[in-house]
Symmetry: C2
Subunit: 337 residues, 2 copies
């Protein structure tokens, strides 16, 4: 377990460098507000549009900072990672921008859309079974085999510092409009984005409460925080969620340790509310968002986070979904309504 | 013909009031930039996302300001308009927000998507044939019949002043980032948005050159400017464009008079480049944009406007298209590539 002051001190300098790296190539994504969405939710909601980020998700921030931070000799040997899609795409893009070879291990059931995008960045793909294989073992074996650096999708100080830039940007954007963010809702898989945003809040906006939002059946961070130690999801039991980008085995050691000290809470959200959020984002803001990216707004629609008329900010973390797949999610919801 | 100083003086006060009205209910739409799009176009491009505007297009600005400016007695009698869809939706929403009854005459071939949205705002719809009927006569007859105020989609000082707020916002957003906008590309149908943005540029950013962008076969503003007098499109000859929102019979008297004095030029763009722009906006920014909304970016892709490495701003004017229709436009383009 880390002592928070020491963690913050160690992250401070790295977060500053991450900011510099990220500013070079990432999109300064907008923070938007919609009166229709505010009315629907019953509170003021600011949406940070990471679906507009390069490679379609916030993951580009961490991956780019990580690759930018590699020593020259490691850059030559290349990078490997296991990923459900967004980290793979982000790492493939970051590696390409530095001329670094990349190999990605991705689950068999990754949407074809995400596989195509990774291939377009010139990376090599190998497959694994996310319900049976041990993701960590897959990553380690691949790194050994290729003599390459393994870039963990979340349990890495550089990755967390890269993701923290979303939070820092958001707090600066809100402050420049004179808005105080009371509650911050962050999609949570392995906890890298959550930890990064929590660190950013502590440094830049300490009055903000940070909440992790998880999909049903993949509430490992919620259960781990309750039990005080890392608890894994039941990956082999056929549980599914629309939020494929948030399906991980368990929280990371580093992410869990940060999140247990800095989070104000965790909410768990069902697919029904995710669909409703997706539909609202298309209808009101004409945004293509993937299910995981809509889970923060879904938590507000489901009243899963105590906001009480204050100002909430949501990270719309990614938009990597094909249009027909999104249409199907929204239509089906309409039929159910 | 108006003398420009007098026009500016008369618009100055109305543009200020429009700004106040619009700030109440409209979305402060983001101005975004994508390094991938910059690289593709070969120049720096700022995109003003009016596809995120309330009712999905910039038209809400003009319609809301117009309705807000009506005397109480006219509000009671209601409003009518002819519109290919976006003005109808905007006027229906604005009217609803003020409790004013609205009747909209819309072309038979308006996308069903747009008709549905107008109905959802509680407005009454009647149909006309945009290739045979005289739109102006349809509007006048409807206003007489209902005893209601006719809200012209573009040839109206209040509407133009409302649309001008897009430009003023954009120039302020750019200035706050220390960016000088050299060229401004504006989708042009009847010329209301173009005239509004040109007036805003003259007032706020006089160093910016403003260009109107029209679709092939509907280049009435280009031809009118060349001939020095208003020239109509050949509406009856079966010419089609993907940009249904820009299909009008001819420029307005007021819009033409402003545009002929303030525009730096007009570019005419083919559907091929519109599709390419739509695809880029989905791929890079996960935005649902309708064809007319992509025509500014299309003009840059087609190198139809002299930018020469300077900074261009584009108004992404609307996003009112169903996902399957957008998918079809993008897929078809991929098959052609």
């Amino acid at each position: 377990m880390f002592e928070m002051t020491a963690v913050l001190k160690s992250f401070g300098e790295e977060m500053r460098r991450a900011r510099e790296h990220v500013a070079r190539e990432a999109v300064l994504t907008p923070l938007v507000e919609s009166s229709s969405i505010n009315e629907r939710v019953g509170t003021r909601v600011l949406l940070k549009l990471e679906c507009m980020q390069r490679t379609g998700s916030f993951k580009f921030r961490g991956a780019y900072h990580k690759v930018a931070s590699l020593p020259p000799r490691e850059m030559e040997r290349g990078v490997v990672a296991t990923s459900s899609g967004n980290h793979a795409q982000a790492l493939a893009a970051a590696a390409k921008l530095f001329g670094v070879p990349a190999t990605l291990a991705m689950p068999f059931d990754t949407p074809a859309f995400k596989l195509d995008r990774v291939r377009r960045w010139g990376a090599t793909i190998v497959h694994y079974d996310r319900y049976r294989d041990d993701e960590s073992a897959v990553g380690e074996a691949l790194a050994r085999e290729r003599g390459a650096a393994r870039v963990h999708p979340f349990d890495d100080a550089s990755i967390i510092s890269g993701q923290a830039t979303v939070g820092t940007e958001l707090f600066e954007q809100a402050a420049s409009r004179g808005v105080r963010v009371d509650a911050m809702l962050v999609p949570c898989g392995g906890g890298g984005l959550t930890a990064g945003v929590a660190l950013a809040a502590r440094a830049t906006s300490p009055e903000t409460q940070v909440f992790a939002i998880e999909p049903e059946h993949y509430d490992d961070t919620a259960r781990s925080l309750r039990s005080g130690a890392i608890v894994a999801n039941a990956m082999g039991q056929g549980h599914r969620t629309l939020c494929d980008a948030l399906m991980v085995a368990q929280p990371g050691t580093l992410t869990f340790d940060i999140n247990r000290q800095l989070l104000s809470g965790v909410a768990v959200v069902s697919d029904v509310h995710v669909r409703e959020a997706l539909r609202l984002l298309v209808q009101e803001l004409r945004l293509v968002v993937e299910p995981a990216g809509a889970i923060g707004l879904a938590a507000l629609l489901a009243a899963q986070v105590p906001v009480n008329g204050a100002c909430a900010a949501v990270i719309v973390s990614g938009g990597n979904i094909a249009l027909p797949a999104l249409e199907e999610l929204i239509i089906e919801r309409e039929a159910m309504a």
